[in-house]
């Protein structure tokens, strides 16, 4: 008797556990079926009021606490305006980078998703046919946006002549340079306007080291060198990745004279690269970079801290208008900027952020109408970036917001520094920390931008993936120590070039050249 009941108990346990397992799996698939089902129902308009629900995956950092409130407000507006409700799935940047590619690969349903060249790679997923070709639909459903964004930017996001995403329109291209502590520069009597090139900067670093030592302080002269090389001698990154050895010369910059006869060349084999490495080697040996620049660069929080406290004089950044003003507000001292180049607009510049529509989307028309609102409607733009007026900010004049609401509030529940990721800053009101003429500054910046000779060329890496894989490893091995002056360039550059040679740099350059020739002849 006892035995039987024991056995029965065991059986029951097993049954329960198995059932639990099965429902666990069943539940998951049931809910996805349900959500696609409801989407389809809404699309057919059988419910009468014809509200379409769009699923939007967004990457932004950090996810604001009051997101639900803001989206409810947004839905109120879009329901009325275009008959759309947003099912908003926002994920913080680090997670999005891991999760979104998996969701797409797994065939998860979505209408709109954020993509770029730094998260959920645009070109890669266009190659995997995950995004819809919207070339024809754009002028039809998002005409205002289509007209508002300059043609060069549209050209840049084209893949084989088709557009697969709406790019965020902000500053055109990238401008490398150095931000510095202007209070310190003044105290040490440094005239930064004399700095035009990297070599000019050596004198500045010398003065900083000398004067700060005299004060008994140990100020690091400059950091951020792991990004500095393309700023010292700007070139067009034909593969979309500035690290891969396939560069094109940009005539306006007047560099790479010795190789400019070649359409595609290995920038690491150039004289400019040797010069750059020699210069920073000199800085490193003179002690301007702190002891261990590679590790110093990897810790951004520490760098910002040092910069704010005056333990770091300057660092290399890619600049956007208004940055130094915003930085002075956050660092507690004056911040200036020395450009090392004019802004350069190339294909990859437009890939900093895009909203793409899934190739499986059932409502591409509605999705585009919504993206159009994000880019042109001032109410939507300001709402999604700064939140609800009166609750998250107070309006200052017609064009500015004050997120502190006149007080000293720091965390108001909803505000995004990187609000351009939603579309464009031009239909979003500006924070009061930006100068009044910020749109003018953007205009100046965009007007001065040099458009690269091969803008619009996107490289299809598939034929040389094997080489890219091997070269990526070689580059990761050599460049950090070379470009921070940690090793002697005269000894290591030849080694580096040899390793590149052994891993197929020639095939890569040849393939880029072939595709580039085809691209230019098709134009």
């Amino acid at each position: 008797m006892k035995n039987i009941s024991k056995r029965a108990a065991a059986l029951a346990m097993t049954a329960v556990m198995t059932a639990g397992l099965l429902t666990g799996c069943g539940g998951g698939s049931g809910s996805t079926a349900g959500s696609t089902g409801s989407g389809a129902a809404a699309g057919s308009g059988s419910s009468g009021d014809e509200i379409t629900t769009l699923t939007w995956y967004m990457s932004i950092n950090p996810v604001a606490a009051d997101t639900d409130k803001v989206i409810a407000k947004l839905n109120e507006y879009t329901r009325e305006k275009i008959g759309v409700e947003i099912d908003y799935k926002v994920i913080a940047n680090p997670d999005y980078k891991e999760k979104m590619p998996n969701l797409i690969n797994a065939g998860e349903y979505f209408d709109i998703c954020f993509t770029s060249n730094w998260t959920t790679d645009y070109l890669q997923f266009v190659g995997k046919e995950a995004f819809m070709d919207i070339t024809e639909l754009l002028p039809q459903y998002a005409k205002e946006t289509y007209d508002f964004i300059p043609e060069a930017v549209w050209d840049a996001v084209k893949v084989n002549g088709s557009i697969y995403g709406v790019p965020s329109y902000k500053e055109m291209g990238w401008q490398g340079g150095i931000v510095y502590n202007s209070d310190m520069a003044e105290a040490y009597g440094i005239d930064m306007s004399t700095v035009k090139t990297l070599e000019d900067y050596t004198k500045v670093l010398e003065v900083v080291a000398e004067k700060s030592k005299a004060e008994g302080k140990d100020v690091v002269g400059v950091s951020g060198l792991t990004n500095a090389w393309p700023m010292a001698a700007p070139y067009e990154s034909l593969t979309g990745n500035p690290k891969l050895p396939a560069a094109g010369a940009v005539p306006e910059f007047g560099n790479f004279q010795d190789v400019s006869s070649q359409a595609v060349f290995n920038q690491y084999a150039s004289e400019e690269y040797m010069n750059y490495c020699q210069t920073v080697r000199g800085w490193n040996q003179a002690g301007y970079l702190g002891g261990d620049p590679v590790n110093y660069d990897s810790d951004i929080a520490n760098r910002d801290n040092d910069f704010n406290n005056g333990a770091l004089f300057s660092y290399f950044i890619q600049y956007a208008p208004g940055t130094s003003e915003a930085m002075s507000a956050s660092s507690g001292h004056g911040v200036g900027f020395v450009p090392l180049m004019d802004p350069l607009f190339e294909t990859r510049s437009a890939l900093g952020g895009l909203l793409a529509i899934s190739s499986a989307s059932e409502h591409p028309d509605k999705a585009l109408e919504f993206i159009n609102l994000l880019n042109t409607d001032e109410y939507v733009g300001t709402l999604i970036r700064h939140g609800i007026e009166g609750e998250h900010y107070t309006a200052v004049g017609d064009t500015q917001v004050d997120k502190t609401m006149g007080g000293t509030l720091t965390d108001n529940g909803y505000d995004y520094t990187y609000g351009w990721q939603f579309g464009t800053p031009f239909n979003q009101k500006w924070d009061i920390s930006y100068p009044d003429n910020i749109e003018e500054l953007f205009q100046q910046y965009n007007d001065s931008a040099v458009i690269s000779p091969n803008n619009g060329f996107t490289f299809d890496a598939v034929p040389v993936e094997t080489q890219v894989a091997a070269l990526t490893n070689v580059i990761a091995e050599y460049t950090p120590s070379l470009e921070t002056g940690s090793v002697d360039p005269a000894e290591y550059i030849p080694k580096f070039l040899e390793a590149l040679q052994a891993n197929g740099v020639d095939q890569l350059i040849e393939e880029v050249n072939t595709q580039l020739t085809a691209f230019n002849s098709a134009k």
Partner: protein, 317 residues
């Protein structure tokens, strides 16, 4: 388990099978959840191995994507570092397996010989603790030792009047550092495995040996080690099966992805990670993993074959 399989094999007729099945029904049912989980998460995903031979397209799905033959495997062998990667992976793992075996057995015997059991437990816990640390945490602990500016070692060197060492740029020192941290981190876990099988050895053997006048050393050599042998063989064969998988955390996090150290820290897992983070090719990732699995499979079967030759009772299968 082995016996019931054998008896089932003998009585191949249907009635016999049914009878055994009926007899073992509760046991079978109890195993069922685990079997289902294993099927769902171990066997079902194997269809994904097809990707190793395909160019993946989201729209066409795993089964609809185009075949590309062995193209996805090329990147593993075309690099000029192929030899370094293979050498590092195999040699480090072989060294780890050997050291882990010798040191864990020695420590297990040492701990079990301690008369004060309370103290033995404390030591065991101390050795075990690093096993639960993530490699990211360990890498920062190591950084506090090896950092050029603020590291403990460089401060010590400076104190004694020596020049500081740029640890993250000197490949010569890293085989030792890596080995030390690997053993430091995993030794506790293996030791516990051996201690658990030590407690299974009957005290009668030792009592009889003491009566016969055996010394401590003789007891260890003639009783403890032979009794531990099956455990040693099982753990070693399992470890050999993973000889072509390198611990990513150890080889990537601990050296802080430092370029100059690649010649001694580049292993197959770090190579694949660095190679594919640019292109994100799912097919190539699947190819690398399939290659590792096949090598692992061959190694396990090979190791087992050798063991069976020498001592058939200790073989896994």
């Amino acid at each position: 388990m082995k016996q019931s399989a054998k008896s089932a094999g003998k009585g191949l007729n249907k009635a016999g099978f049914l009878k055994t099945f009926k007899k073992n029904l509760p046991l079978t049912l109890m195993a069922l959840p685990a079997l289902i989980v294993m099927f769902l998460f171990r066997y079902l995903p194997m269809s994904g191995l097809l990707l190793a031979f395909k160019r993946f397209s989201v729209r066409k799905g795993i089964f609809g994507s185009d075949w590309v033959g062995l193209d996805n495997f090329e990147f593993l062998f075309q690099t000029s570092d192929a030899w370094i990667i293979t050498r590092n992976t195999i040699c480090y793992n072989a060294l780890f397996i050997f050291l882990d075996l010798v040191l864990a057995v020695a420590m297990a015997i040492g701990l079990s010989e301690l008369l004060n059991k309370r103290r033995a437990k404390i030591y065991q816990t101390i050795f075990m603790a690093p096993y639960f640390l993530s490699w990211v945490v360990v890498s920062f602990m190591a950084f506090s030792l090896f950092s050029l500016d603020d590291g403990l070692f460089n401060h010590l060197l400076a104190y004694f009047g020596f020049e500081g060492v740029n640890w993250y740029a000197e490949p010569g020192k890293w085989p030792f550092i890596l080995t030390f941290f690997q053993i430091w981190k995993t030794i506790g876990y293996s030791t516990v495995m051996y201690i658990s099988s030590l407690t299974g050895i009957s005290n009668d053997y030792y009592e009889a040996a003491i009566i016969d006048g055996a010394t401590k050393w003789q007891q260890i050599k003639r009783i403890t080690l032979p009794c531990l042998k099956p455990m040693m063989i099982v753990l070693t064969i399992l470890a050999i099966g993973r000889i072509f998988y390198a611990d990513f955390g150890l080889f990537f996090q601990l050296p802080r992805d430092s370029g100059p150290l690649y010649p001694v820290t580049q292993v197959i897992d770090t190579y694949v990670y660095r190679a594919l983070k640019e292109t994100g090719n799912v097919g190539m990732a699947a190819a690398a993993s399939l290659y590792q699995s096949i090598v692992g499979f061959v190694m396990v079967v090979g190791a087992n074959l050798i063991v069976r030759r020498i001592d058939p009772d200790s073989a896994l299968f």
